[in-house]
């Protein structure tokens, strides 16, 4: 019954209907009882929804592991994690010396400009949609591409790896501990980009590494 009749619209005391109208004051009189009566219905809605969610997640192509297990980042489907190979800084350095591996820096452009792995290209996660079309011709479709971001708990490289895998790229590698691990191993780094004075020469305090932006992507726990 979509349309109300006059009789339906009128309060029951005027139509002669027998059902009692609930009062909001009753809610204050018996809050536990009433809230339980409301709560279990809400609970049923949440339970049904969660069951549907788990069922669909199991067959969704980008379905997520509900228990993380050995996948260290949220938002990463199991198959994505399985197809990305993690390399230690030493292993990554060997690959860098041998050549043939494209290094991809997914940090923000300003951090890339302050220093990066020599030869690495910049594809900032936060500008992925706009930056990807002009970067795509430079990316080898069959890889290998080694991605890195700020530190060990930065998930941006995995997010970019996920987006590249969805776009058909393969043979993706991940630098363990990110640029922090590379720096801690005292491996080669470029300085500031041409035309940009080092911070000390420009009379500024050197940029903190990692700075507040990098800390944003670090797990607080």
């Amino acid at each position: 019954m979509l349309l109300p009749t006059t009789a339906q619209a009128l309060p029951p005391e005027e139509t002669g209907a027998a059902h009692p109208r609930a009062s909001l004051l009753e809610l204050l009189d018996r809050p536990v009882l009433i809230l339980f009566a409301l709560g279990w219905r809400a609970g049923v809605v949440v339970t049904l929804a969660s069951l549907a969610a788990v069922a669909v997640n199991a067959v969704h192509p980008m379905g997520l592991p509900l228990i993380l297990g050995d996948v260290p980042h949220s938002g990463i489907p199991r198959w994505v994690w399985d197809r990305v190979e993690v390399k230690s800084p030493a292993q990554a350095h060997d690959l860098w010396r041998q050549g043939g591996v494209l290094f991809l820096d997914v940090r923000d452009a300003e951090h890339y400009a302050q220093g990066h792995v020599p030869g690495a290209l910049s594809l900032p996660y936060h500008e992925f949609t706009t930056a990807y079309p002009r970067m795509a011709p430079k990316l080898p479709g069959r890889g290998p591409i080694l991605l890195y971001c700020y530190g060990s708990e930065c998930g941006l490289a995995m997010r970019v790896a996920k987006m590249l895998l969805v776009r058909g790229y393969d043979n993706l590698l991940l630098l363990q501990d990110g640029i922090e691990g590379w720096q801690e191993a005292r491996l080669e780094m470029t300085g500031p980009a041409p035309g940009q004075l080092p911070a000390a020469e420009a009379g500024q305090a050197p940029p903190p590494a990692p700075d507040a932006e990098a800390a944003r992507w670090r797990k607080p726990r």
Binding site: L2, L10, P12, L24, G39, L66, G75
Partner: protein, 172 residues
């Protein structure tokens, strides 16, 4: 007591509008929640990224929360459209909206420049909204509480399903 405070004449004047107001609120709130759920259901991985960026939930809960929340929104919308258990569902909607207001406020306070709501779209391009998101959610909360008040006061916890004429669109 509440009934006695309203004069019969006044009650008669407003009575015909109450079912229509409840129906309008139900459909409006249901539309918002169903629309909000669509992109999140289609892209659970991207929504999980958004949820993690709020930096509120512990890592181990993010995936499960991101998978389930959009479906709760969808079911909530379906129950509201069907007119089933409206008071309880409206209260659930109000609770979710309070959660959204708290989360968005925390996100905006922490990093307004890079804040991404993820309310209707999981794409990062949707970033850039400010405190208008909170006002929008506050309006939604008002609607949810209004619907709860209309449906509960006319029919109790069961909602209009067991009270003839309390809500014109109630089907169950």
């Amino acid at each position: 007591m509440e009934e006695a405070a309203v004069t019969p004449a006044r009650a008669t004047v407003w009575a015909p509008a109450v079912p229509w107001a409840a129906l309008a609120l139900r459909l409006a709130i249901a539309s918002v929640f169903i629309l909000a759920s669509m992109d999140k259901i289609a892209h659970p991985d991207r929504f999980a990224d958004v949820v993690w960026d709020y930096q509120i939930l512990p890592l181990w809960t993010v995936n499960a929360f991101s998978v389930c929340l959009p479906w709760v929104e969808l079911f909530l919308g379906i129950f509201l459209i069907a007119g089933v258990w409206v008071p309880g569902t409206a209260l659930l909607a109000a609770g979710l909206t309070v959660m959204f207001i708290v989360a968005v406020s925390m996100g905006l306070t922490r990093d307004p420049a890079n804040f991404h709501c993820g309310c209707f779209s999981t794409l990062q391009e949707g970033a850039g909204h400010g405190w208008d998101l909170v006002w929008r959610d506050a309006l939604l909360l008002l609607g949810c509480l209004g619907l709860f008040w209309l449906s509960y006061s006319s029919a109790g916890p069961e909602g209009p399903a067991d009270a003839d004429g309390a809500d014109p669109g109630a089907s169950a």
